[in-house]
Amino acid sequence: MSVEIQSLDPRVNRLGLHTHEPGSPDTLPPHDHWGTYQVFHQKKRGDRHTAVGIVHAPGPELAMAYAKEQFGRRGETANLWVVDTRHVMALDYIDQDMFATTPEKTYRDPGGYKVNDKIDAYREKMSHEHTP
């Protein structure tokens, strides 16, 4: 049996709600909460923008309004980007092995060029040769 809900909250009472309000399992149709936008947050001018999460929005303007509220409401914010998730192309983690050998490519790193041992050995050798 449906009875009117009596709440401690006057705002709820003003809604005139009843127990067992009618509703069907598909109260919200698909896409009712729109699509998603990926949000990128920049803390300080000069920092990188960092992916921080998503918002649901019908378009970029409202996505930005939600992003400000959700990701800029405390702490520092210099700037925000929102990008329609459909426009982000991402790799699959299953392909991560394509980068497996990259850390081994020491010829690309400054640390891959160590010559101090050779210099020391050379100087050692020279000092012996020139000792009478």
Partner: protein
């Protein structure tokens, strides 16, 4: 807020899916190494299903949890308290959005989750089915329920699913503000007039049972529970979290000269464990089944919010918009 290690039992269990044993072994090795699982990784069917369920119920708890406290925004005693409570309630709704997003990355759209909430199919933390009768209830909720939620959420933030962990990191930071502001209200009332103190004691007496229920009954140490712990879906037992909560917060209640309505509550000197009287699990299960003091109101309010907002969302729809599962 929320957390609540307790995830209600399912009435119908789906048939067990036999995942590829090699993929399963590689997955378990990754989790054991402490690596995070990301949305588009291979994962066991049961892992995905349990995570969706757990994160979704966590999200529902945040959005429903905003309701009992929201009642007091219009009647908060003073401008600063009102600002703080508005900020906290907004955070809770924001947490729901972060968590719905994390669950969405596993393939369940937000509309489907909200439908399951408002049609009573999925649950939320039992504690929000109790009314916030006085301003002192705001103190008890903000201090102790948020504290309990932090115990649970800090544990879960070390779990294996990347998007959930990242959401929880942000959530835990905001929860610590909730706890601090709750503690502030709590201390002001506890050190205030005799009337304020008695109001706080009354709220504490009414909320203690739901707080003891918060982490749920002791876990059955079934194969299923052990699997969820191995997969780092469940990070601590309900009993361990409850003990941790009691150790941290009972002293903070007692130092203010307040009492708790459980004559058997004490720390056992030998085992170092808290002992307590029967928390009335029959009431806990009755409330889960929908028979708590506020279940009907909470769902009706949530449903009204969705139904009354439908025309606005429809008016803003854009012709080319299409849903895709978010990335992270």
């Amino acid at each position: 807020m929320y957390g609540g290690g307790y995830i209600p039992k399912e009435e119908t269990r789906k048939t067990v899916v036999n995942d590829d044993p090699d993929m399963l072994a590689a997955f378990e090795a990754r989790v054991a190494r402490g690596e995070k699982v990301e949305p588009r990784d291979w994962m066991p069917t049961e892992y995905r299903r349990q995570l969706i369920r757990m994160i979704e119920q966590h999200a529902h708890s945040e959005i429903i949890g905003a309701l009992p406290e929201g009642t007091w925004i219009t009647r908060a005693p003073g401008f600063r308290r009102k600002l703080a409570l508005m900020a906290k309630v907004q955070d809770e709704v924001g947490h729901a959005q972060l968590l719905y997003s994390a669950a969405e990355t596993l393939g369940k759209p937000r509309e489907a989750m909200i439908n399951d909430l408002i049609n009573g199919k999925s649950k939320y933390s039992n504690v929000f089915n109790y009314p916030a009768k006085t301003w002192a209830d705001v103190a008890v909720i903000g201090f102790l329920i948020d504290a309990a939620a932090i115990v649970n959420q800090v544990a879960n933030s070390k779990g294996s699913y990347g998007p959930y962990c990242r959401a929880l990191e942000r959530i835990c930071y905001e929860e610590s503000f909730h706890l601090k502001q709750g503690h502030s209200v709590f201390v002001y009332l506890a050190t205030g007039t005799p009337l304020q103190r008695s109001m706080l004691q009354d709220a504490l007496n009414r909320w203690w049972k739901p707080i003891m229920h918060f982490f749920g009954p002791s876990d059955e140490m079934s194969e299923h529970t052990l699997t969820l712990m191995r997969w780092k879906v469940k990070m601590a037992t309900n009993d361990d979290m409850r003990q941790q909560f009691l150790s941290l917060y009972v002293p903070k209640i007692q130092e203010l000269g307040l009492s708790l309505p459980d004559a058997e509550l004490r720390k056992d000197a030998d085992s170092g464990k808290w002992l307590f009287g029967d928390p009335d699990w029959a009431e806990f299960f009755a409330v889960i089944r929908g028979n708590g003091p506020c279940n009907a109101e909470r769902l009706a309010v949530r449903k009204a919010a969705e139904v009354n907002g439908a025309w606005v969302r429809k008016a803003l729809q854009q012709a080319d918009a299409r849903y895709v599962t978010p990335l992270a």
